[in-house]
């Protein structure tokens, strides 16, 4: 579904991503791990179109999307949510998701129809599916950190993506919230057929949850494969899991 081939991106002299390779198949849950500064977030921003790669290709469903604008990539069915909380903080929770739905329905330049009557059911459905229905009328800036992270996912769902890219979806969450979020993502994957690509610090979580893991180090992807294979890989042990064990 998504192939990243020899991707490279540098900022001034610093090579953030040197040689990244990634394969994501339809319906998979793929994790990217690596130490801080390994280039995970940069890789995701490159795929989402927020940064332009210097070299390499990004192929989504047979189409080269490297260098396209974020809104074009979104239209193709890729939705990216960010590492830092990134909601529309002055809008209500409902409006946050509605904006994404309105944009997908190509109503962005509609100047006349009252928005409060549009895309109500679909927005409500998304809020139901992530469990934010009861805070729908709250201003999103007033939600807890964990709720805002869930809202991030809800906004992403509003664009009806096939591939959901999440940059540390559970960062800063309590163990309960993390558990609930993982359950939610499993549900989205199993019942709604969403392909999920994410990166995460919590190694235990990654190994229990992902079908496939890609390990990055200093901008280079070392290995990609099923969890067991990655766990046994010598290079990964040295690079990331600590050579001691």
């Amino acid at each position: 579904m998504l192939s990243v081939i020899d991707l490279q991106k540098s900022f001034d002299q610093f090579k953030a991503v040197t040689k990244a390779n990634l394969e994501v198949g339809q319906g998979e849950i793929v994790a990217v791990i690596g130490p801080n500064g390994a280039g995970k977030s940069t890789l995701f921003k490159l795929i989402g179109g927020h940064l332009k790669p210097d070299k390499g290709r990004i192929v989504f469903k047979g189409k080269d999307i490297a260098g396209l604008a974020p809104h074009q990539i979104c239209r193709l069915g890729v939705s990216l949510s960010f590492q830092i909380v990134n909601v529309f903080h002055r809008l209500t929770v409902f409006e946050n998701v509605q904006v994404a739905v309105l944009s997908r329905l190509r109503l962005a330049l509609d100047l006349i129809t009252p928005a409060r009557g549009l895309a109500i059911e679909e927005t409500q459905e998304i809020l139901n599916s992530v469990g934010l229905t009861n805070v729908g009328n709250r201003v999103s800036g007033s939600l807890s950190h964990g709720e805002q992270k869930v809202l991030e996912i809800a906004i992403a769902l509003g664009t009806n993506p096939e591939l959901l890219i999440l940059d540390e979806p559970t960062a800063g969450m309590s163990p309960e919230e993390t558990f609930a979020t993982i359950k939610l993502l499993e549900h989205l994957n199993a019942d709604m057929g969403l392909t999920i690509l994410f990166c995460e610090h919590d190694i235990e979580l990654v190994f229990s949850f992902a079908n496939k893991i890609m390990v990055m180090r200093q901008g280079i992807s070392i290995v990609q494969g099923p969890p067991d294979e990655v766990r046994d890989n010598q290079q990964v042990r040295e690079a990331y899991l600590g050579g001691a064990n």
Binding site: P70, F88, L91, V99, D110, T113, N137
Partner: protein, 325 residues
């Protein structure tokens, strides 16, 4: 169940607001019958200034754009109609329609250059391009009258008297306010607010941010042009100060004072400042000092503006009511 309660509650308050608005409108409609001519003129001036600031606030408060030189669109609308009426024999109605359109076109052209930049850089570029237009008007004596401006613009009889121009201003302003309200509550306006809160995220849900901002510029410029046309109707003259950057700054202050995250805040801010300037201006020539003090108090005590402050109070009260239920 929660949803339904909310619908009922908001429906009720909407009706109340509509009634208040209508009452206000009736007062405004009959006031020339009782007020001295000067105050009718002042009311017209307040409405016009309120219209400019509301149009400014589309870009500023709802769009999160640093609209530093909005007065340019106001002035260009005024000059367009004034020039059409004085220098051509075309039907006056055409001039009245062309004013806002020319402002809109100018906003489009300036916008195409400016929206490539973000935040402060957008504002600075707009300021410099706007000043360019101002210099042009200021220096081109043979065409624009230079620093004298254009006086004795032959406004059609029906709307040239004090009360005639007042009613024309009132009707046009109300129509424009309704249009702007509709636009801001349509998907366009909602997505505009999303862009204000988070342009990067808006892009990743498929919004063409630059295009959206460009359309916003045109809309804001157009309505500022309408206000410029109304100013000519009321004053019968134009002058280059109408597009000076100090006036733009005053408009910005009005938005901040009234509440730039509310729809009617800028109108309130314009009412306060225009009234104060007119009333205090008679007693002291240091009016700007009063303005400075207002601005300082505002920054410290009412960062969301007057209307924003009361809206916050109202929201907190209804929230606590909802919890009680």
């Amino acid at each position: 169940m929660v949803e339904r309660q909310n619908l009922v509650a908001s429906g009720y308050s909407r009706l109340t607001w509509l009634a208040i608005g209508l009452g206000f409108l009736i007062i405004l409609a009959v006031s020339p019958l009782f007020l001295p001519r000067f105050f009718t003129y002042l009311l017209a001036l307040i409405l016009i200034t309120g219209l400019v600031t509301t149009s400014l606030n589309i870009a500023l408060g709802f769009g999160g754009m640093y609209q530093f030189h909005h007065a340019v669109f106001y002035g260009v609308g005024a000059y367009t109609v004034a020039l059409m009426l004085t220098k051509t024999s075309l039907p006056p109605a055409l001039g009245f329609i062309l004013g806002p359109i020319v402002s809109g076109i100018l906003a489009l052209v300036m916008g195409m250059i400016c929206v490539r930049l973000s935040k402060l850089y957008f504002g600075m570029l707009q300021l410099s391009l706007g000043s360019l237009v101002w210099v042009l008007v200021f220096r081109w004596y043979s065409f624009t009258g230079g620093d004298d401006g254009l006086h004795g613009v032959p406004v059609p009889k029906l709307i040239s008297s004090v009360s005639g121009s007042y009613y024309f201003t009132l009707i046009v302003t109300v129509i424009c306010l309704i249009l702007m309200y509709v636009i801001l509550n349509a998907p366009f306006g909602r997505i505009l607010q999303a862009i204000r809160d988070n342009p990067e995220r808006s892009e990743s849900v498929g919004v063409q941010v630059r295009l959206h901002q460009l359309v916003t510029q045109v809309i804001a410029g157009f309505f500022a042009g309408v206000a410029g046309v109304l100013f000519v109707t009321v004053e019968g003259s134009t002058f280059p100060d109408m597009m000076s950057w100090t006036l733009s700054l005053e408009f910005l202050i009005m938005c901040l004072l009234g509440g730039w995250f509310t729809f009617l805040g800028p109108m309130l801010g314009a009412t306060i400042i225009v009234s104060l300037r007119t009333l205090l201006g008679g007693y002291t020539e240091y009016w700007t000092m009063v303005l400075a003090i207002i601005l300082m108090l505002l920054i410290f005590f009412l960062p969301e503006g007057v209307l924003g402050y009361f809206e916050g109070l109202y929201r907190r009260r209804s929230a606590s009511l909802a919890e009680d239920r």
